[in-house]
């Protein structure tokens, strides 16, 4: 109490100074990049956590065999300086960089790579689904100290594309803290990587500090001394921080923010197309929406133009795959707002007169999803169907996806491609083995499954494209989703941030190494 009183008196004394101190002086001098994002990093384990905020942490504190850079995404050397692929696309060999060192100084060996992949396969969490059925515990071998050999269970076209998400951990550190859960408890809050940055201050739900590792093995790179991942709850706050130079990068901006930033010379807006799709999943297994004609009627009743208006920079999806990705067919005939057709299909369905109530679940606090749910409400009203809009937290959404009984009639979902291959979206969102997971709670069509499986292992590009074309037509006819839009990635950069290269996969997982601050 005594102290606080003194502090109050201090405030009276320094009141003049208080108003006159320039706010920019905070940021002067040190080359520390501040990223403002609404997404927390609750878990630091690269073999457990998912999402772009953790991905950002992994990309900068860990290394993978290869990296992915640019538009279209290109595979570049990471820990591996070179690699070879066998004719049948089942055998891969990677030569590791002999200078690569973990942050504790020990070299990154082939054994470490083998250890990491075994851990991924064993835990069955995090990125393991990307290589499920392709890589198992026996597939990875250390040919010598600097060479890793993979023998895939089946040819897998996007194999190199998924490798950037398979991070290599330091076996010595993990083994020393192995516990009873393969070191999960330890890696949850600690890192054991070879990346150019290490963790500094950690305030969960608030901020994470990254510090550039001194004398580190990575070549090149910018002048950053460190970086901060700052959790900000409102997009408008992110934007204001950017305007006030309290942040250098704002990661989740809305169209309105981009509009406001347009003429600001101190801010560079990045609006780029990305393989990030928004769609409204329907419960095809239970309830009225199991009726395909009703699903089609709703797909026609939805006002896609309003959706686009409310979204800002975006483009409507053409079918289930993101536009521009390999195999996507832009000439597909898809559903557009057409009330006549909607009525026509409604008449064909078992629910001609409507008069019942459906429900939609959207992410709490995600403004665009809320807006689109309202548009869905309008569309359904035209079919005399009521809609119950339920904002849900992420755990609720995940829990609801577990079975057809818990799944609401509609679920709003964003999906970001982790690798630039149609298999990513097709397998994760439409293959029935993923039922019960949030990306594909209930949809099941054996023909679709077969096409996905065939395309996954097909090595001939023409044949592969043909398979995906069939897949798209089939899925559109089934109408398991209202295919929404591809939201353009909207990023804001301070003009003094240099050397940023946009990559349309997990674009907010900023790679810090190349960046510089003026």
């Amino acid at each position: 109490m005594q102290m606080t009183r003194r502090s109050f008196m201090g405030s009276a004394v320094s009141a003049a100074a208080l108003a006159s101190m320039p706010l920019e002086s905070f940021a002067a001098g040190r080359k520390i990049l501040i990223m403002a994002s609404s997404v927390d990093i609750p878990n630091f384990d690269p073999h457990v956590a998912t999402g772009y905020a953790p991905a950002m942490l992994f990309r900068n504190t860990y290394d993978a065999l290869v990296r992915v850079v640019g538009t279209p995404p290109e595979v570049k050397p990471g820990l591996a300086t070179s690699w070879t692929v066998s004719e049948d696309q089942k055998h891969y060999e990677f030569k590791l960089d002999p200078t690569a060192k973990f942050q504790d100084g020990s070299p990154v060996t082939a054994e470490a790579v083998v250890y990491s992949f075994k851990r991924i396969v064993k835990l069955k969490r995090g990125p393991s689904w990307m290589i499920a059925g392709i890589v198992d515990a026996d597939s990875v071998k250390a040919a010598d100290a600097q060479t890793v050999a993979f023998d895939l269970k089946a040819p897998f076209a996007p194999f190199l594309q998924v490798l950037p998400w398979m991070f290599i951990v330091n076996p010595t550190v993990v083994e020393a803290n192995i516990g009873s859960d393969d070191g999960q408890a330890y890696l949850l809050a600690n890192t054991a990587g070879s990346g150019p940055f290490k963790l500094g201050r950690v305030l969960p739900g608030n901020m994470y500090e990254f510090i550039r590792v001194k004398d580190d093995w990575h070549q090149g790179g910018g002048n950053l001394e460190g970086a901060i991942w700052k959790i900000v709850r409102e997009a408008s706050t992110e934007r204001m921080m950017l305007q006030r130079k309290e942040a250098h990068i704002a990661l989740e901006l809305y169209a309105e923010d981009m509009e406001a930033l347009k003429d600001n010379p101190a801010v560079v807006s990045v609006i780029e197309p990305e393989y990030r799709t928004f769609s409204i999943k329907m419960n095809t297994a239970k309830g009225p929406l199991a009726d395909k004609n009703l699903r089609k009627a709703i797909s026609y009743a939805f006002n896609y133009q309003s959706m686009l208006d409310a979204a800002g920079p975006a483009e409507l999806m053409v079918g289930p795959l993101p536009t521009g990705i390999f195999g996507h067919d832009p000439s597909l005939t898809v559903y557009r707002h057409d009330m006549d057709k909607a009525k026509e299909y409604l008449a064909k369905s078992e629910y001609k007169d409507g008069g019942f109530k459906l429900s939609v679940m959207h992410a709490t606090g995600y403004e665009n999803q809320r807006r689109w749910s309202l548009l869905l409400l309008e569309a359904l009203k035209a079919l005399n169907i009521e809609l119950d809009i339920r904002p849900a937290t992420w755990p609720d959404t995940v829990a609801a996806a577990q079975s057809p009984d818990t799944m609401p009639s509609f679920m709003c979902l964003f999906q970001t491609a982790n690798y630039a291959d149609p298999d990513n979206v097709a397998f994760a969102a439409y293959h029935s083995s993923r039922n019960g997971q949030w990306q594909n709670p209930v949809y099941k069509n054996e023909e679709v499954d077969k096409l996905i499986e065939a395309a996954r292992v097909e090595t001939d590009q023409t044949k592969r494209a043909e398979l995906y074309k069939q897949f798209q037509e089939l899925v559109i006819d089934d109408a398991p989703d209202i295919f929404g839009l591809l939201e353009k990635r909207k990023l804001g950069f301070g003009a003094n941030v240099k050397n940023f290269v946009f990559t349309p996969v997990a674009a907010n997982a900023i790679e810090l190494l190349p960046l510089s601050l003026d």
Partner: protein, 298 residues
């Protein structure tokens, strides 16, 4: 320096009338209370008739007009439009329904539950009192907003769940109040008389004690109405409120945060509505307290 009138008391009926007249006179003395009452009456009228009188009822039901996004306040849209082109004026007006209804429901539930617990504890005393009041005291130590948020979040969004969540944290205060009043009244002569005549305890509580302790309850309830409206808005603001498209002030404000500072009207009008409603109930409550509970006068 006090003096008592030496005139005989007039007949009972007219005395009661005169009491009311005096009470009303005292209430009118404070123009702030009158303003409070006027705003409350207006709010209730708005809540009742809003769906019929608002210019854009379709927006209230969730309709959108994305062509007219972020129109500034003007002749067409008095309070401007939001990100979906919805008329903020219509949303704010209809938003009064949720706020007032939930506020009222919370207060009523709290009075019924708290009143029952408090009356039983106060009337019977002893170990019943001890147990009930210990639980009440414990609940009073729990931070109510956090508790309400936790309960509302777990139950899921929706007006009913929100009301339940808030009411859970509110009844203990009424239990305390009623218990105190019942203890004060139960020793009085007329209660002893009723007991002697063999009246059962629910009858004594309901017919004899309750009517005599209504004043402080009504005063607290009217003050609490304001805070209930505020709490409803607070839950809406942190994102645990009503389901869309139901317009609710706190939710409107929370959603509008994303549009600050450029589209200030989307936030300012719902905010002012909350302020006005809470203020009105506070003024009314203050006025009622002066009238009904002179001991507690400011």
């Amino acid at each position: 320096m006090t003096s008592t009138p030496t005139t005989l008391p007039k007949r009972d009926q007219s005395a009661r009338l005169e009491n009311w007249a005096r009470a009303f006179y005292r209430f009118r003395q404070s123009w702030l209370s009158v303003i409070g009452l006027a705003i409350v009456v207006m709010l209730v009228a708005v809540a009742l008739f809003a769906p019929l009188i608002v210019p854009h009822p379709e927006h209230v039901a969730g309709g959108t007009n994305t062509a007219a996004r972020f129109t500034a306040p003007g002749a067409d849209f008095w309070f401007g439009t939001n990100a979906l082109g919805q008329d903020v004026f219509s949303l704010v007006l209809v938003g009064s329904q949720v706020s007032l209804f939930s506020g009222l429901a919370v207060v009523i539930i709290a009075i019924v539950v708290g009143g029952l617990v408090g009356a039983i504890a106060g009337y019977f005393g002893g170990w019943i009192d001890e147990i009930l009041m210990r639980i009440t005291d414990l609940l009073l130590t729990i931070p109510s907003l956090i508790l309400a948020m936790a309960v509302a979040a777990a139950l899921g969004t929706g007006v009913t769940n929100m009301i339940i969540a808030i009411a859970i944290t509110w009844w203990p205060a009424y239990a305390r109040l009623v218990r105190g009043e019942v203890i004060g009244k139960k020793e009085e002569q007329f209660i002893t008389a009723a007991k002697a005549l063999g009246a059962s305890w629910p009858r004594i509580l309901g017919r004899h004690i309750l009517p005599n302790i209504m004043s402080p309850i009504i005063v607290k309830a009217s003050l609490d109405m304001g805070f209930a409206v505020l709490t409803v808005a607070s839950l809406g603001f942190v994102g645990i409120g009503v389901k869309a498209p139901t317009p609710e002030w706190g939710t409107l404000l929370s959603v509008a945060r994303a549009d600050m500072p450029d589209y200030w009207w989307t936030a300012v009008f719902p905010g002012c509505a909350i302020f006005l409603a809470v203020l009105a109930f506070n003024l009314l409550g203050d006025g009622l307290r002066d009238v009904m509970d002179p001991k507690a006068r400011r």
